[in-house]
């Protein structure tokens, strides 16, 4: 019971810290104290945010791996990640469809079937391994891992909804998951652009003027986003929905079939001493 409580505290707190961290660039410019310090204040926001995200990520990882500790789960995760990570090659092989990426499909489905913690590790490690095999380790990596992890972690949230529409094993289940994956496809893009936002904006005092609202920052970001990324991310949204509709049902069936095999446990039968 206490362990469950601790888990939820970790999920919720890290989510809150994450949201604040991602929004930080917007309202930091309204922190009049800071701005008043003017010239003497270095732009240390990115450093602080990186440290905070790192701490949250560490806490979440420890939380998630508590479930995936058995050899079965570790082997399963490892192999699934090895299937999912190279899919990023496809992003280039099938050039054209913008931000479309096939990796989210398995993150959502495994998270949904195997549980949130499994999904978290699946998401975070898919991004890590694909970065490693493509020499793509960069400043965006922690943000990608954190966000992709959250996609997997939140996937079981679809379960009550599926139960509500009595959709297990039907297209209704797939529709719920498709909506979920589509929404995350867009949100993922919005968040991903934020890793460099503090750099693009520069030290916050640049924009501080009396009467500046934090909504101005959001307006600037929205303009930037609409101009550069919306079309890009829309492809991801559409791709996620499409993939879910085409591959969803058979994949869920396969995952469920094997899920039983991976969760067998042995209860010793009472017997005479040896």
């Amino acid at each position: 019971m206490r362990a469950r409580l601790a888990s939820w505290v970790v999920y919720l707190t890290s989510a809150t810290i994450g949201v604040i961290a991602f929004l930080y660039p917007f309202f930091s410019s309204t922190l009049s104290d800071e701005a008043a310090m003017g010239m003497e204040h270095a732009n240390d926001a990115p450093l602080l945010l990186t440290v905070l995200i790192g701490i949250c990520f560490g806490a979440l990882l420890v939380e998630a791996q508590a479930q995936a500790g058995s050899a079965k789960m570790i082997a399963l995760l490892g192999v699934l990640v090895s299937i999912n990570a190279p899919l990023r090659f496809l992003e280039v092989a099938v050039s054209g469809p913008g931000g479309f990426s096939p990796i989210f499909f398995l993150i959502v489905t495994t998270g949904y079937v195997m549980g949130g913690r499994f999904g978290f590790l699946m998401g975070a490690l898919t991004l890590l391994v694909s970065a490693l095999i493509t020499a793509g380790v960069g400043p965006w990596l922690p943000y990608q891992m954190f966000t992709a992890g959250w996609i997997g972690l939140s996937a079981p949230a679809c379960r009550p909804l599926v139960r509500l529409v009595r959709g297990e094993g039907t297209w209704r289940e797939v529709a719920v998951l498709a909506l979920f994956a589509g929404a995350w496809g867009l949100v993922y893009g919005v968040i991903m652009n934020l890793w460099f936002w503090p750099y693009a904006v520069g030290p916050q005092e640049q924009h501080w003027q009396p009467g500046t609202q934090w909504t101005d920052g959001i307006a600037r970001y929205a303009a930037f986003y609409l101009a550069t990324s919306l079309a890009w991310d829309a492809m991801r949204l559409a791709g996620n929905i499409l993939l879910m509709f085409v591959f969803g049902l058979p994949t869920l069936r396969v995952l469920r079939r094997f899920q039983q095999r991976f969760t067998f446990t042995y209860q010793p039968v009472e017997q005479a001493g040896v």
Binding site: G78, R253, R257, F264, T265, Y266, Q271
Partner: protein
């Protein structure tokens, strides 16, 4: 060393037990062979030894066990891993890291062994398995046999007293398999390691084993598990390698296990029978099913096939044999268009295939690749057949599907999940998926891998049936006994060139490398199978 007392075990959700009342005792330093049909419970029995059954697989277990002084039922697999090393069938799916040394050390690292001690252990097993030269290599660059030796080395890192191997050579070619088995013999002789080995191809390992544990065909059968010295148990078995089968028929005593021992008997028998030159089989005059003319194939500018010309007529089974990397698989792939020749012409069913895509060619020629499992993904066996028909845009006639399923012996399994079937059944399902288009030609790449004698015999009968129905069949195999039983004609290939061609008795009987056991026993007589030998000797 290993004691089973009345062990029974049922997998979770299974209707029938996989093991029933298994009872035997294995002394220290023995080299024991576990034999039985596929599905008889060999793997299950082996997994009991280190506690994977039931700790890993779940299910219900009854009986008592003692292995190297521990009870696997109460000790965890973790504790058992210090006493029992385990090597699995698939060399691809048992590695965690990518370098030889690191992989061997992986288990030691997890056991928090001090680094100095680890160094000693790793050096020791590298030498034992002759891997020192490969220590820095990446596992993916190793051959199958080398990988299995690494797996054995990794299993031995804890200095266990028992080594258990579950069909370690079934995915390997004969040369690699020989390397692995030689390594096992050395370990058994030099270190006194107790070895428990499950293996299908008895002809290869029987000579090394001093004990045999034979599982009954089905666990509910009347006979229990047989365990004893090789010569005690062998006469009671039904499925035997040709040499032993012949010896049993002719009542040779003591039972010969090697060609050398057998020659002693066969010489005496054939002294006064005049040698009969092998008669060329009457040629068949079917239409040409498959043909290659002056074909060259190159990978990275290295010629893999050089000037190959070959014909397979309808109504004949041609077996293609040769060393690893001699171009056998490439030849098959060229025929179905998966590899495009540099020059030369290819015909399938009388039509030249230039410019046709793989799918179109494969409607006329079925091709069973080595990794037959990669074909299967549907929910039922029947769906597998239907998917192929749909791919080709052919009508789905129920009677045609039913009759093919019946020919394959899969009628009872039509509604099952293909991946849950046994190796032989899975292969037949894959065969169904490629022959449902009723092709005139059939190509098979190493179809006997992992099959037991019964499954091989069934496959051989099926191929002969299809041949008689007018199919042109081309089989690539390392399995000389299978080739001897099945082939109408044999072609040898080496370094991309065809070097010999003719009836099996001529080609295989003469070659020391490709001669089956019976041909070695009666050199120069053209007998390849037990039946031929018995007929020749006038026994039948």
């Amino acid at each position: 060393m290993i004691i089973f007392r009345d062990v029974s075990y049922t997998y979770p959700g299974a209707a029938r037990p996989a093991l029933r009342h298994v009872d035997f005792h294995l002394p220290e330093a023995s080299f024991a062979l576990v034999v039985g049909r596929s599905g008889a419970g060999k793997s299950t029995l082996l997994r009991c030894v280190n506690g994977l059954v039931p700790h890993f697989s779940g299910g219900t277990f009854a009986g008592r066990l003692a292995v190297a002084g521990l009870d696997p039922l109460y000790a965890t697999p973790r504790a058992m891993s210090r006493r029992v090393g385990f090597v699995f069938q698939n060399p691809e799916a048992q590695f965690v890291l990518d370098r030889v040394e690191d992989e061997i050390a992986f288990a030691l690292e997890n056991a928090a062994m001090p680094r100095q001690e680890m160094r000693v252990r790793v050096e020791e097993v590298l030498d034992l398995l002759d891997l020192a030269a490969l220590r820095e290599r990446k596992l993916e660059t190793l051959s199958g046999g080398e990988r299995q030796r690494v797996a054995i080395a990794a299993a031995l890192a804890f200095r266990p007293r028992v080594l258990v191997l579950d069909e370690p050579t079934s995915q390997l070619d004969p040369q690699s398999a020989e390397d692995v088995l030689n390594a096992l013999v050395r370990l058994n002789h030099d270190l006194g390691l107790t070895i428990l080995l499950a293996e299908h191809r008895l002809e290869r390992v029987l000579q090394y084993a001093d004990r045999v544990i034979a599982l009954p065909d089905s666990p509910d059968g009347e006979n229990g598990v047989l365990c004893g010295t090789t010569r005690e148990v062998l006469p009671q078995l039904k499925l035997l390698p040709p040499l032993v089968a012949l010896a049993k028929q002719l009542n040779w005593q003591p039972l010969p296990l090697t060609t050398k021992e057998g020659l002693h008997f066969s010489r005496a028998l054939t002294e006064h029978i005049l040698p009969v030159l092998p008669v060329a089989a009457s040629p068949r005059y079917g239409a040409v099913g498959l043909a290659l003319q002056r074909v060259w194939v190159c990978y990275d500018r290295q010629p893999v096939l050089r000037d190959v010309s070959l014909e397979v007529r309808r109504g004949e089974i041609l077996v293609l044999m040769g060393r690893n990397g001699s171009g056998k698989t490439t030849l098959l792939k060229t025929l179905v268009g998966l590899v495009r020749p540099e020059s030369g012409r290819v015909w399938v069913d009388g039509r030249e295939v230039t410019g046709e895509d793989v799918a179109t060619i494969c409607r006329r020629a079925g091709y069973l690749p080595q990794e037959a499992d990669t074909l299967l993904f549907a929910d039922t066996v029947r769906q597998e057949l239907e998917i192929t028909l749909r791919n080709h845009g052919l009508p789905e006639h129920d009677e045609a599907i039913e009759s093919l399923l019946a020919q394959l012996g899969l009628t009872a399994h039509a509604g099952r999940y293909p991946r849950d079937l046994s190796v032989g059944e899975r292969q037949r399902a894959a065969l169904g998926a490629i022959t449902v288009t009723q092709p005139v030609a059939l190509l098979l790449d190493e179809p006997t891998r992992g099959l037991d004698y019964t499954a091989k015999e069934a496959l051989s009968a099926l191929l002969r049936h299809w041949r008689d129905a007018g199919m042109a069949i081309l089989v690539v195999t390392h399995d000389v006994e299978f080739a001897a039983r099945t082939a109408d004609r044999v072609v040898l290939i080496s370094q991309g060139e065809l070097i010999a061609e003719g009836v099996p008795a001529k080609v295989m009987g003469a070659s020391p490398l490709f001669a089956p056991q019976i041909a070695r026993l009666f050199p120069g007589r053209g007998w390849l199978t037990v039946e031929e030998a018995l007929r020749g000797l006038g026994v039948v």
